[in-house]
Symmetry: C2
Subunit: 158 residues, 2 copies
Amino acid sequence: MPQNDAVRISAKADYAVRAMAELASAAGTGPMKGDQIAQAQGIPLKFLLNILSELKHARLVRSYRGAEGGYELARDAKDISLADIIRAVEGPLASVHEVRPEEIRYEGAAASLQDVWIAVRANLRAVLEVVSLSDLVGGALPEEVRALATNPEAWSSH
Amino acid sequence: MPQNDAVRISAKADYAVRAMAELASAAGTGPMKGDQIAQAQGIPLKFLLNILSELKHARLVRSYRGAEGGYELARDAKDISLADIIRAVEGPLASVHEVRPEEIRYEGAAASLQDVWIAVRANLRAVLEVVSLSDLVGGALPEEVRALATNPEAWSSH
DNA sequence: CACCATCTCCACCAGTTCAGTAGACATGGG
DNA sequence: CCCATGTCTACTGAACTGGTGGAGATGGTG
């Protein structure tokens, strides 16, 4: 039974987004400790620390050490998209056969296939680039996204 | 450097779609041999045979043995979507943390996150479910998909 | 200064998946 | 009977996933 899906949000990406959401909701109250984030979101602490360290290198969070230490967002929650977070921990959003879609060439019958992969990526971006952390924690998703998510069809396994 | 992306079309899925496209373009001229498909699309023969065998079990192709054997589509090319093909070789189109998006629950700050994943999947389906094999080999993608693919923005790595 | 809390970095690990490859076998036609 | 094709099971090396462990750096506090 294959476990690799066309769209696969890994545990790491999922944790990264949830940790960032936690930081966004705690913004303004000083740094939040790794341990608090881990508790709040049910994430293994050491794994979370690894992820936060990647987010720090991507300059999405700032960190402080010592007894009053912890993490905080490096910029306003409305200026951080989910795509920013996922790219920071997983590299490019989309790939085909380990290559970016715009770099492929197809022969013969499959010539238009590249356009399809490009369209898939565009539609993925249309969600992940427009949803910001402040949208997420405020529970107020952009209208287009909200429309997609409230369509009952979207909830069926098909 | 991580190689796992949010959207990842594996070699297997890519090969499956291309092989089906080849079969679609050869429809009506009798079965096409594995070897011909492999040559036409540059796919390792034995790997392709594995894939075709999965497509057969999913009843997307029919096969014949012997000197005049080969493969052909099990139904009309316009009645096979790319989503059908990808699901046949890779299971569900989308998953989060190895689970279907509609089965997750998030706590606290990330409560709306489920809606985001649902929207992502919906937008993925909006491409892969509507493009049929006959659209693909005819080079005539549905208008919505064409619009996505011709937007220059969609071609930038960003 | 010592001490404690916190983040940081590197290394490692078990299990799974990916992308194939190998080879024996089934079956159709001549 | 022979040959060409598809079918099935099994294997493999490399990479990735989802972590864990431990030493060390760096703050603040007494």
